[in-house]
């Protein structure tokens, strides 16, 4: 498929690395932050960090949707299941620790929890068993939220409701800029979220924060080019919004997807695991769809959950403040087989990616 045609060409890669070395500052440290689990996978799997000059750091921000889902919302899903509702969810969320038990623990105790690949699977299940109550645990960023919105607007079966836990990426990027000692010099913006929200959603970063921002794809060359484009802006002393991923991302994004999200959801403040409450960073069903709100329907409300088990540093890993290897539990008390934190559970969590992919 053309996606892969030459986007991994080793000759091009070698040359772009040479260009990076040319434009990078000689000694000043440059910190480039991405906010996407798939970018972290590409960077770690292909060992891209080792190709960069030692003063050019690439750090991972809160780009793993499963990791940022707060314990309180997983607690709500567990409670729904304990009330006899069949909870449908993405597989990655099963083992995420919450305040008391994970969804997998609840399932082992007999709760009806079913893994689905897509919200449409949940719709089909509910249609097939009309006498049973179903809830779909809708996590994910702007890439996933449109699919939930479509099904809400399509008038889902009466016995299906939604636990909407969608989160928005630009507010998380703003949070990072507010953390004084993080000192980010540029953003690599997430390609697939951007296919939906468009380049326009990042305009504020160069404008209001003077932050070079480049939307990038997921092949190794995409990421290397994005690093190069940011370094070049820094060298020129400018801050622009640039698009490296033109084959999938445009200025406006997917207007239809934006419309369905606007119709189904309102933007509210949202809790992020270990990071606290971020303003205007989450979706909630609009009041006209309150009948489909699982928590309202079954009277389940958890205000606070326990986001971090003792010793887990996920809240620092998720903002790129520390590397997984700086967590004392990494690959000791916390492994992909026996994860202590969400960042080790999800295939997009930085700890898990480092555990599995780092060479």
């Amino acid at each position: 498929m053309f996606e892969h045609l030459k986007f991994r060409d080793p000759v091009l890669a070698k040359r772009i690395v040479e260009k990076i070395r040319e434009v990078a500052p000689k000694s000043d440290v440059v910190k480039i932050c991405h906010v996407c689990g798939t970018h972290e996978w590409t960077i770690t799997h292909f060992g891209l960090r080792s190709l960069l000059p030692s003063n050019v750091e690439v750090i991972a921000g809160p780009g793993c949707p499963v990791c940022v889902t707060p314990a309180s919302e997983i607690d709500e899903a567990v409670q729904l299941a304990q009330k006899g509702v069949a909870v449908t969810c993405f597989g990655d969320v099963l083992r995420v620790p919450s305040s008391e038990k994970s969804l997998l623990d609840a399932k082992a105790e007999g709760a009806d929890i079913r893994v689905v690949y897509s919200v449409s699977d949940a719709v089909k299940m509910a249609e097939k068993e009309p006498a049973k109550e179903f809830a779909f645990f809708a996590i994910g960023f702007e890439t996933t939220a449109p699919s939930t919105a479509i099904e809400v607007l399509k008038k889902p079966p009466k016995n299906l409701s939604f636990l909407v836990s969608h989160r928005l990426i630009p507010p998380a990027m703003e949070l990072l800029l507010g953390i004084g000692d993080l000192h980010i010099d540029g953003f690599i913006a997430p390609g697939h979220v951007s296919t939906v929200i468009g380049l326009k959603a990042y305009e504020i970063f160069p404008k209001a924060y003077r932050m070079p921002t480049v939307v990038a794809g997921f092949e190794p060359l995409d990421v290397l080019f994005a690093v190069y484009m940011i370094l070049k802006q820094l060298k020129e002393g400018v801050a622009r919004l640039e698009n490296e991923y033109v084959r999938a991302v445009n200025w406006e994004g997917n207007i239809k997807a934006q419309e369905v999200m606007q119709q189904a959801f309102e933007v509210v403040d949202g809790e992020w695991r270990g990071l606290g409450r971020l303003p205007s960073s989450a979706f909630k069903l609009k009041t006209q769809y309150v009948n489909f709100d699982a928590c309202e329907k079954f009277g389940v409300h958890v205000k606070h959950g326990r986001d971090l088990l003792p010793g887990c540093q996920c809240h620092l890993v998720m903002i790129g403040k520390i590397k997984p290897t700086e967590c004392p539990l990494f690959m000791k008390a916390c492994t992909p087989q026996k994860p202590k934190g969400a960042c080790m559970v999800s295939i997009e969590g930085t700890c898990r990616i480092w555990a599995k992919e780092a060479k």
Binding site: M1, R15, T38, G91, V193, S346
Partner: protein
């Protein structure tokens, strides 16, 4: 297992009533929802959790590669001057 922020390219083989049969390169047809995009047979789309979120542009893909080569060429030429 699916990565939550990953979307996977697929080729559209058949379109009907907001659904399409697509090939992820495995030679097997799978059904995805295409309500959010305008597609025709032969297009490449990005699919996330069973829903197409964008149509991929082959021209833009080729253009990217051309641009990359150009940036590298042009700057190499400048250097050797």
């Amino acid at each position: 297992m699916m990565a939550m922020c990953l979307a996977i390219p697929a080729k559209v083989m058949k379109v009907q009533d907001g659904k399409a049969q697509v090939d992820f390169g495995e030679g097997v047809l799978r059904e995805v929802d295409v309500t959010l995009v305008n597609v025709k047979v032969g297009d490449y789309i990005l699919v996330h959790a069973g829903y197409a979120i964008q149509v991929l542009s082959r021209e833009e893909a080729e253009e990217t590669l051309r641009l990359w080569s150009e940036i590298l060429e042009a700057e190499n030429q400048l250097k050797t001057k």
